[in-house]
């Protein structure tokens, strides 16, 4: 994993592009260390962070690094509230504060297992950089490493436009308007039936992650799950971002994760308060 500089730094936005409802935000980050896939950054707009309804946002927000190339860092954002809403409006030339890369990323595949990337909705973000890394490593990894596969689930075809961020991804949609009609875990089960010598990298909504976890447990396939949790600090200071750990106690998603092994959890709990 990369260590973050011990201070937030200002990043200048270089581009903002829409993929259906998602925004891919690029920023120049010449001094930022190269993040490991699965690591995240705490972001806050440099201007007018706050002042929304209910006086929010106030704290910085966590975002997976989706790409890191040529001194630029990419994030994929979904506008779900005041913080993401503000970041989604940022235009080239505007700035945001970044602290990162933070947290524990994905572990590289071992034992000649192929990588199965499973993403749901905005959960594709960390899989983009993972796919980049696997593709870059591909030639070097040599003949023994089978090609990886990516399976991406979305609510509808509009959202599924973001699937183009990962080359050759299989798509599933809840409404059948693109790709497979049904949950992306259907496709995961198909892939595991074909060849269970795999490691699964998953990120997405809690129910999807829980389904992936359970499938992998049954199939005795290692699962690397990128979790989400409300965060305040992002670097282990506040103990605010916990999820129950298998066997008792809690994991801090920001430092013990966001990527955890499926075996570390009893189950992936839905974030509180969600309908």
């Amino acid at each position: 994993m990369s260590h973050a500089p011990f201070a937030r730094r200002p990043l200048s936005i270089t581009a903002s592009e829409r993929y259906g409802p998602y925004v891919v935000l690029r920023a120049a980050d010449p001094e930022g260390p190269a993040p490991a896939p699965g690591q995240f950054t705490m972001l806050a707009a440099a201007e007018r962070w706050g002042g929304g309804e209910d006086g929010r946002p106030f704290l910085a927000r966590a975002f997976s690094v989706a790409r890191h190339r040529a001194g630029e860092v990419h994030y994929v954002l979904e506008d779900v509230g005041p913080g993401t809403g503000r970041l989604c409006e940022l235009a080239p030339g505007e700035r945001m504060w970044a602290l990162g890369p933070l947290g524990r990323g994905f572990a590289q595949p071992t034992d000649g297992r192929r990588a199965l990337l499973v993403g749901g909705g905005i959960g594709i973000a960390p899989l983009v950089i993972l796919a980049d890394t696997l593709a870059d490593a591909g030639p070097r990894a040599g003949r023994g490493t089978p090609p990886s596969a990516a399976i991406l689930g979305f609510r509808d075809g509009e959202r599924a436009r973001a699937a183009s961020l990962i080359d050759g991804a299989q798509v599933a949609t809840d409404d059948g308007s693109a790709g497979h009609h049904g949950p992306c875990t259907d496709l995961l089960e198909d892939e595991l039936e074909l060849d269970a010598n795999a490691v699964v990298y998953a990120c997405g909504p809690a129910p999807m992650l829980e389904a992936v976890r359970a499938i992998c447990e049954r199939a005795r396939v290692p699962a690397q799950l990128a979790l989400e949790a409300g965060m305040a600090c992002g670097f282990g200071a506040c103990f605010g971002c916990v999820v129950p750990r298998r066997g008792g106690g809690y994991l801090r998603v920001c430092v013990d994760g966001p990527v955890v092994g499926g075996e570390e959890l009893e189950r992936v709990a839905e974030p509180a308060g969600e309908p």
Partner: protein
């Protein structure tokens, strides 16, 4: 030029608020930079209790208007493991004097006990360890039943401080609760009991409700959420929490000023400090040091 606080030589006037910085986790996140650029003139540990605590069930955080409500619940590995595993790793911290050499950033251990007895045992254990430069008594955490009442009553507080005072020659700092009728009277009680300093403010008791869309529905299995509050459910797993951040800064300023006017012993001021100007205000109002938590 260092500054002196209760006999400790400090690099500058800013320390961390208890429970808002974890050196071990920060080393994992920031690597060597953490030690090279350690920002605090002293390091205050999170609250340590006799027995290990896992803390409160999540969710533990809620963002309010210019504030943060937390119900962390004082997770810690307990006194024994803290002394064995954590203290050695916290001993070598150093901070740079502005523009100059680095000096030790002393370790202040924050402890909480449900009774005077428990506090005495905690203080005695701290007294034994050379790495610990000072002790902070948390009599103010609103998330846990025990501490609250002691800290809010000047006479009881005086008794508790007196009970622990005899057990240590290290500086004894009393972290006051802001959830009281007269914080200056509480500070005076702490002083009368023999405290070397007081610190404030801790968080204000606060609550958030789960968004309405979740109301009425039975919680999905695995989903954790606070208890029923009237027609709704509390958002925080522990139902209530403590408010910190800019929203409380004006309350902190009033309490720090009132306490600094009342007592002779030095005051560590905190609550909502985000900028050097905010720190300056607390110092100007009479604080000897400033602590930062929610940023």
């Amino acid at each position: 030029m260092t500054v002196s606080f209760c006999g400790l030589e400090l690099a500058h006037l800013v320390i961390n608020g208890s429970g808002t910085f974890d050196v071990h986790a920060a080393r994992r996140s920031f690597g060597a930079a953490l030690d090279e650029q350690f920002p605090f003139a002293a390091f205050v540990s999170k609250t340590i209790t006799l027995e290990p605590r896992t803390g409160n069930p999540p969710p533990r955080l809620w963002e309010s208007a210019q504030g943060l409500i937390n119900s962390i619940g004082l997770p810690n590995r307990g006194l024994e493991e803290y002394m064995r595993e954590e203290v050695p790793a916290l001993a070598g911290l150093r901070t740079r004097v502005s523009g100059g050499e680095s000096v030790p950033a002393p370790l202040i251990t924050n402890v909480m006990g449900a009774s005077a007895d428990a506090l005495v045992r905690l203080v005695e254990a701290c007294e034994e360890r050379a790495e610990i430069a000072a002790i902070e008594l948390n009599v103010s955490c609103p998330n846990v039943k025990s501490g609250l009442d002691i800290g809010a009553d000047p006479a009881e507080l005086e008794a508790v401080v007196r009970a622990t005072r005899g057990r240590t020659r290290k500086p004894l700092i009393v972290k006051l609760t802001p959830n009281c009728a007269d914080v200056a009277a509480c500070a005076a009680g702490a002083q009368a009991g023999g405290a070397d300093a007081v610190s404030l403010i801790n968080t204000l008791r606060a609550m958030a409700l789960a968004p309405a869309r979740a109301a009425g529905r039975p919680p999905a299995s695995g989903r954790q959420i606070g208890r029923q509050v009237g027609q709704r459910r509390a958002w925080l797993g522990a139902s209530t929490g403590g408010l910190s951040g800019p929203a409380v800064r004006s309350v902190a300023l009033a309490q720090v000023a009132a306490v600094a006017e009342r007592v002779e012993i030095p005051v560590i001021g905190m609550g909502g400090v985000q900028t050097a100007g905010h720190a300056r205000e607390l110092l100007d109002a009479g604080a000897a040091l400033v602590a930062v938590g929610t940023e």
